[in-house]
Symmetry: C2
Subunit: 194 residues, 2 copies
DNA sequence: GTCTATAGACCGATAGAC
DNA sequence: GTCTATCGGTCTATAGAC
């Protein structure tokens, strides 16, 4: 791996672990083994390196959402993506950035985060729309709304887990979301007569 | 307001706005108008001041949850608390702390956050249990799980809102949660025959 | 209780040799 | 491309007078 790549990879890790404000160029150097001269040769500033690293993290995280539009029934895809193994105590590489005022105040950094969330929402909403169309969910549920709801359950689940230093609240939160989603299945003839 | 109180109030605001790592004692001084000597007279360290300020923020936020066990039907209380007016772009004073590694690494700071979330969860779970008992929610929903789910919707909703610089995703997320919750109402005789 | 002065480390960046 | 040296500024205190 080249010097530039090592800088980006290391900054990506640190952005995830410590966030933007609390990560210094020096830390990146020490962890990556890259010297100061090289660092500023490849990136003019901490911000520029962070921008590349954030894009790297988005590219790392977004493709997984493709499974929302893959094979299988819409609801099965939704459930699978919701229950996908995740390290709750590490949190979301992209969502984490929203808690950093220095990121929110930088239009270019925020745009990367913002468009990643928009892309995720599009995928969720599409799968949910299909589930409604396929009769797997009641027609009175709003796919756009519930897409936001399920994304929030994941993002907020990380917060609960970190607050307790325990992944359990995250697991409970998404299991609870799953149970609510299943409750939103239309009543079948059998269930009406049982 | 005394000097000590002004330091705590100002640090509380800054913890909410900027977080722990990105807030300096100097910033607290400049905003509160308290001098350096006074600051270190009242608090031996930035951390000690943050501990007092974090407790202050918890005391500011927790009492609102009492409405979950107040008057009215359980489900009505749950919906009211879920839809309570909140400034989505400011986020949660307590939840925000979980994103700060320096807070997570400090057992005493983390304990304040952790016990606040536990207290909130207890209130949510109690109201949900009542709703199930009262027949307002299906008996197959797990109050403890769904308590985590609804807390996560709020905490995660803040993340979505901040990512877009727009409160709309937060509002959508909780409306979606509400619609799922209503879908989890037991089937009434009328709904079975309509 | 509050003030000013000082401390040692680190911050983010620049300069210029090789 | 990478190195070392240096810069002005800030960080989180500490010291000691008033």
């Amino acid at each position: 791996m080249g010097t530039r790549e090592r800088l980006v990879q290391t900054m990506s890790d640190l952005l995830w672990e410590r966030g933007y404000a609390d990560t210094s160029p020096r830390e990146v150097r020490e962890r990556s083994g890259v010297g100061q001269g090289s660092q500023y040769h490849h990136f003019a500033s901490k911000r520029d390196l962070a921008l590349a690293a954030l894009r790297h993290n988005v590219d790392d995280v977004l493709p997984a959402a493709d499974s929302l539009s893959g094979p299988g029934s819409p609801l099965a895809r939704i459930e699978a993506y919701l229950l996908r193994p995740r390290d709750a105590l590490r949190g979301c590489k992209v969502g984490r950035m929203t808690q950093d005022p220095q990121v929110r105040e930088d239009p270019e950094l925020l745009a990367v985060v913002s468009s990643a969330f928009t892309a995720m929402h599009t995928q969720w909403a599409h799968a949910l729309t299909e589930a409604v169309t396929a009769g797997e969910l009641r027609s009175d549920i709003d796919p756009e709304q519930v897409a936001h709801t399920l994304m929030a359950v994941l993002q907020g689940g990380y917060v609960l887990a970190m607050a307790q230093g325990d992944p359990a609240p995250f697991e409970q939160a998404r299991q609870g979301a799953l149970s609510l989603l299943r409750a939103a299945a239309p009543q079948t003839p059998e269930s009406l007569t049982k």
